[in-house]
Amino acid sequence: MRTSSQSVPRQGPGTKEGGAISTVLRARGLGKRYRRRWALSDCTLDIPAGRVVGLVGPNGAGKTTLLSLAAGLLRPTSGTIEVCGGRPGSGRGQLARVGFVAQDTPAYAGLTIADHLTLGARLSPGWDARLAASRIRRLGMSPGQRAGSLSGGQRAQLALTLAIAKRPELLILDEPVASLDPLARDAFLRDLHDTVADQELSVVHSSHLISDLERVCDYLIVLAASRVQVAGEVSELLARHRLLTAPRIDTAALPAGMEAISVRHGGPHDTAIVCDDTTAGAGTLPAVPGAALSPVGLEDLVLAYMSQSAPALEVTR
């Protein structure tokens, strides 16, 4: 298990060159403390523009804190954060660049859908009234309906419409489907996928369910224990990580360039998720007798990084 290097997240290739590819969110040593508890600490992160980024982590990992910092609802206790080139929440122009769908997708219960659209039109300089109206129509919602009487799925759609019709550069979604039933969840995610494909915007979408993100995201950040554990392109993460199976795995005996993220002992074989920077690829691993490397699924990969940070789940030898 890694210990000393935990605070340095693995970064995808998009940011290695120090901003050669434009970044939509840049955090440096970002931390947020509530009274005595750090909800997010020492977060250094570059999110490239034009991606659909999945932010995944267990409950209480700091996802909402990170996204609230990015939306300007919170101010950092330490470090800096820059979103679309500006300080979050620093003014009207900055607010117009970021669309935010908050957790539980709040809406004014006493106001109708039409009222909410008027609200958006009055408050947002770049409001796209046609887009908003056509989305509401397409979703089959009646403009005269009060938000208080909408189902959870419809309210989530309303919140998404408000955020998208601002025509933001960055769309932030904080667990928008967490409280939805599977059907509404599926409909919301499908619609989100289509909308994003149409609009060329950057998206950061958090969830504690990897399956939600797997369908829409091409970039992944794993946040656990208030730190970034890993960040990178989904395809590249999948290419770099392998499932190692062997009768007995000794993390110290792995070849150079290969590092165990999590190891599970027991049964006839030990298994490990390894970060593999060797060129061997899938197949056998000569250095470890009886070992086999196979591709790893995104869910297993994420779980490996999440469990790495949770001492209770650590497997001891």
Partner: protein
């Protein structure tokens, strides 16, 4: 932002201004009759005021007194806490800046609160003016009943004139600020009610008597001004028509504070001639009453000064509230 504020507020506004309109209509319907009664009766006007008008006098005065507290309670305190409870602040604060959001809310609802309190006080002050004038010109002991408080008295001052407008602005913004500070609706409402009582009593007791330096007079005790003689420690109390007497004491011929002789108790009793002789003897012995008071003519200057104080406090509080909201939850 004004649109959203108005959209959220219009129901409350309709209820409040509807209630004020109903009360104002009743006052407008009964006011001319009351004024006619006042002009057609001589010194006995106050005792001829009907039971219904006495009830209206109490209801109107209480409405003006309570309006600022009610607006602080139901408009001010829940203004932000409601958004925090429902989570809608996250919607609002990512669409517009908090400063603009709060500025629209404070200015629109603050002006509405001032307008409501102003209209209510205007209606009640106009309606009650014959009664207030009669109380202010009544010499000596007033007829029994409630119609004894001049508009300058601590009981009535906050229910007349322009001061309620300042109170409404102040307690509305105070409600908002307490809501921002404690973040929960019910505790904020309870705190606001406590603050209302403390501030209003404190203002009446400690500040208003000094807004304009009080006058001091030494007066002869007579049947015309004697209000009360306390039998146990034979303290006499005199009044001045329409004035707010903040303190008084009896002094002897040497100018020292003294108890009046015990036979003074008998002065108000007996026939007119013996009573007059009794007061004359008291005056001859050199007993006088020294009073500290605000004369009736200072009603409007005091109202103006107090309103200015509350409006200045409101502006300061609005600044504090804005600063606090910008730091809120961040």
């Amino acid at each position: 932002m004004i649109w959203l504020t108005w959209r959220q507020f219009r129901t409350q506004a309709a209820v409040t201004f509807g209630a004020i309109t109903v009360l104002a209509a009743i006052l407008a319907a009964t006011g001319p009759q009351l004024a006619h009664l006042a002009s057609s009766s001589s010194n006995d006007f106050l005792s001829r005021v009907s039971g219904a008008d006495r009830a209206l006098w109490i209801i109107g005065s209480l409405a003006v007194l309570a309006a600022p507290a009610l607006m602080g309670l139901f408009w001010g305190a829940p203004l932000i806490t409601r958004e925090l409870d429902a989570g809608t602040y996250r919607l609002a604060w990512t669409q517009t800046t908090r400063t603009r959001w709060l500025a629209a809310k404070l200015s629109l609802l603050g002006l509405a609160a001032m307008t409501a309190a102003g209209l209510l006080s205007l209606a009640v002050t106009w309606w009650a003016s014959p009664i207030d004038a009669a109380i202010a010109s009544q010499k000596g002991i007033l007829p029994p009943g409630l119609l004894v408080f001049p508009r300058l008295s601590p009981e009535m001052f906050a229910a007349r004139g322009i001061a309620p407008l300042g109170y409404a602005a102040f307690f509305f913004v105070l409600g908002v600020t307490i809501g921002v500070a404690v973040r929960r609706t019910l505790p904020a409402m309870a705190l606001l009610l406590t603050a209302f009582a403390v501030v209003q009593i404190g203002m009446t007791t400690f500040v208003r008597p000094h807004l304009i330096p009080a006058e001091q007079r030494t007066e002869v005790i007579s049947a015309a001004n004697l209000l009360n003689i306390n039998v146990n420690n034979s303290v006499t109390v005199i009044g001045r028509p329409g004035a707010w007497v903040s303190s008084q004491q009896t002094i002897n011929a040497a100018g020292q504070p003294a108890k009046p002789p015990s036979w003074v108790l008998k002065c108000p009793a007996g026939s007119a001639a013996t009573s007059q002789a009794c007061y004359a003897r008291l005056a001859q012995l050199g007993y006088r009453q020294q009073i500290t008071f605000q004369p009736a003519s200072r009603f409007w200057p005091l109202q103006r000064n107090e309103t200015v104080i509350y409006l200045v406090l409101t502006v300061v509080l609005a600044g504090l509230c804005t600063w606090w909201t910008r730091r809120l939850l961040s």
